[in-house]
């Protein structure tokens, strides 16, 4: 499903974020990218999402060479196939839950009823539909987390990427998050989580753990 072939990412002249990395992930797998901050795991995620392009090598997702895609196609690729959960959620506090969840779809200018249905469906999936019209600012941390995950799933993406999702959460919420991941995996999503939270390393439904240090695989 996801392939990185001899990928290197160099910033400026000297900053080697990734050096000659080759990875293969199959569909439906849950992969943990393990490493400390600055190790390059976030870079791998952004390459898979098509948010950055490799300096050398190829990124192939579902058969497509996404590194070659022009901006417009890269954006629609991302919207249709990738759902991202950020470490800081990156929700817009002054907008409602429903609006935040629909944010990826705003440019599509779909009819209001369709949008509402999509929002409802995904909010129900993550048990936050009852707060649909509240402002995100007024939600608890855990509720915001669920909104973030809902947004990532609004378009039924095949791939979910999560960058340090539990870094700001207590154990209870972290475990809740992991349960959500389990559920997503059961729906055959390919999930890549970049984290150094030990909770992830003892899970029974993890398919692969990739160790990264200084941009190189260990």
């Amino acid at each position: 499903m996801i392939k990185l072939e001899n990928v290197s990412k160099i910033y400026g002249k000297n900053i080697k974020a990734l050096q000659d990395i080759s990875l293969k992930f199959a569909e439906g797998e849950l992969i943990i990218l393990k490493g400390v901050s600055g190790s390059g795991k976030s870079t791998i995620l952004s390459l898979i999402a098509g948010l950055s392009k490799p300096t050398f090598g190829e990124v192939i997702v579902d058969g497509k060479k996404i590194s070659k895609l022009p901006d417009h196609f890269a954006a629609s690729y991302r919207r249709d196939n990738i759902g991202i959960v950020f470490q800081k959620y990156n929700l817009i506090p002054e907008l409602s839950v429903q609006e935040n969840v629909l944010l990826p779809l705003f440019p599509l200018n779909l009819p209001r009823e369709d949008m509402r249905q999509k929002a409802k469906k995904v909010l129900e999936m993550f048990s936050i539909e009852h707060k649909s019209s509240l402002m995100v600012r007024n939600l608890s941390g855990g509720e915001q987390q669920r909104v973030a995950i809902s947004r990532a799933n609004i378009n039924d993406p095949k791939i979910i990427l999560a960058d340090e999702p539990t870094a700001n959460l207590d154990e209870k919420l972290s475990r809740e998050f992991i349960e959500i991941l389990r559920e997503l995996k059961s729906k055959n999503r390919t999930i890549v989580v970049a984290t150094h939270d030990p909770l992830f390393f003892e899970l029974d439904f993890v398919d692969k753990i990739v160790n990264i240090e200084h941009g190189k695989l260990l």
Partner: protein, 391 residues
């Protein structure tokens, strides 16, 4: 851009509201700039229009005799002489002038009329058709009637002649000047009576008014007359128009300095915007890209944002200027235009007379500039790799 994307519009609106303080400042400066500039244009175009209207009611050429550098009486024989000139199609000897009524500190404008002479001014024509003035009667404007009333002159008025004796003239009727505010203090009476009041002898008057049918010849004939009468002041309608155009010299100081300050601030804002976004703003663009917006979508939203702000500020600015100039008649600032030119702003109606081309000009100077200043840095940021967001 087919339909308006209301979701993006909503997003743009919420974006504006989220950065309230900064945007309020921008809107204020923008509005101020537009308001100042429009006020300037409104006042001058309105004044110019009104002055041109007034001039159109005047005679083509007016000739005054000068003695010792001051205006003096002019003889009717001169009129007869001038009528010999080809191109001059009509003329009359006018008797008119100001009369200062010291009791009420008012100045009346006295006009002598001859019922059978050529008359250009439509108001006077109408009045003379309506009333038959004898030598002992006069017509006064409503304002003059009020002033005279206050001095207990209800049915007649005693004018003081140059020799100190009195000239009693009966008030036949009072008339409304309508929108001809410059005739607010007008009194109309027969020429002979007025001659007595001003001390003009029988064949003399204050000036000679001439009509020239072919405006092409106006300048040529004016020059001819100037050669013929070296002691006289010859003013043609064209001269008046030129002079009034000159009076509205846009370089007049105070207004320009106000304007420059506003412009300066405006460009600082533009410069600030065009030079880049804050890291917060960059972050937000990164997030939008991450969740699936392409560069075009980001710019679309930014376009709405800039348009909302600038259109709002523009409309507000124009509305403020409009109300200030046409409803409140431009207190304080309006005087800048008229005091220098020795006109009294109170005497002007400032009717709504706007040239749309000016408004379009102000629009084009401000709105697209602002939109561009917003879009350019956003475009620059949006086309970069948005992997900063992942951190």
């Amino acid at each position: 851009m087919n339909k308006i994307n209301f979701y993006l519009l909503e997003y743009a609106y919420s974006y504006i509201v989220r950065h309230k303080n900064k945007n309020i400042f921008i809107v204020t400066v923008f509005t101020l700039l537009v308001a100042l500039l429009s006020t300037l244009f409104f006042i001058t175009s309105s004044l110019q229009y009104e002055l041109k209207e007034r001039i159109s009611n005047q005679s083509d050429i007016v000739i005054q005799n000068y003695k010792a550098g001051m205006p003096a009486a002019i003889d009717t024989a001169l009129l007869d002489k001038l009528l010999e000139i080809e191109g001059i199609t009509a003329g009359k000897l006018e008797v008119k002038g100001k009369y200062y009524f010291s009791q009420k500190k008012s100045t009346f404008y006295l006009l002598g009329v001859d019922a059978f002479e050529m008359q250009d001014d439509p108001l006077i024509v109408k009045l003379l058709d309506q009333y038959d003035l004898s030598d002992s009667e006069m017509l006064v404007s409503k304002n003059v009637k009020d002033v005279m009333n206050q001095a207990y002159y209800k049915e007649y008025f005693n004018f003081i002649k140059p020799d100190g004796s009195l000239q009693k003239v009966t008030i036949k009727a009072a008339f409304d000047v309508g929108n001809r505010v410059e005739l607010k203090n007008l009194i109309i009476m027969s020429k002979d009576t007025l001659r007595k009041i001003f001390g003009y002898s029988a064949n003399k008057g204050s000036d000679i008014a001439l009509s020239v049918a072919n405006k092409n010849e106006l300048d040529f004939i004016s020059s001819k007359i100037r050669l013929l009468l070296p002691n006289a002041k010859v003013t043609s309608k064209d001269d008046l128009l030129l002079e009034y155009d000159r009076l509205f010299d846009y370089d007049s100081g105070v207004f320009l300095s106000l304007f420059v300050i506003a412009l300066f601030t405006f460009f600082i804002i533009i410069y600030d915007k065009a030079n880049g976004l804050s890291s917060e703003e960059k972050r937000e663009i990164g997030i939008l890209k991450a969740i699936g917006w392409c560069v075009e979508d980001v710019l679309h939203a930014k376009f709405y944002e800039a348009s909302l702000l600038s259109f709002f500020a523009f409309t507000l600015g124009i509305a403020i200027a409009f109300v200030y100039v046409f409803v409140f008649k431009a207190p304080l600032l309006g005087a800048i235009f008229t005091h220098e030119n020795m006109l009294d702003i109170q005497n002007f109606q400032l009717n709504v007379h706007i040239e749309l081309s000016y408004i379009l000009l102000i629009f084009l100077l401000s709105v697209p500039v602002y939109i561009a200043a917003t879009l350019i840095p956003s475009w620059r940021v949006a086309t970069l790799d948005a992997d900063e967001v992942m951190r």
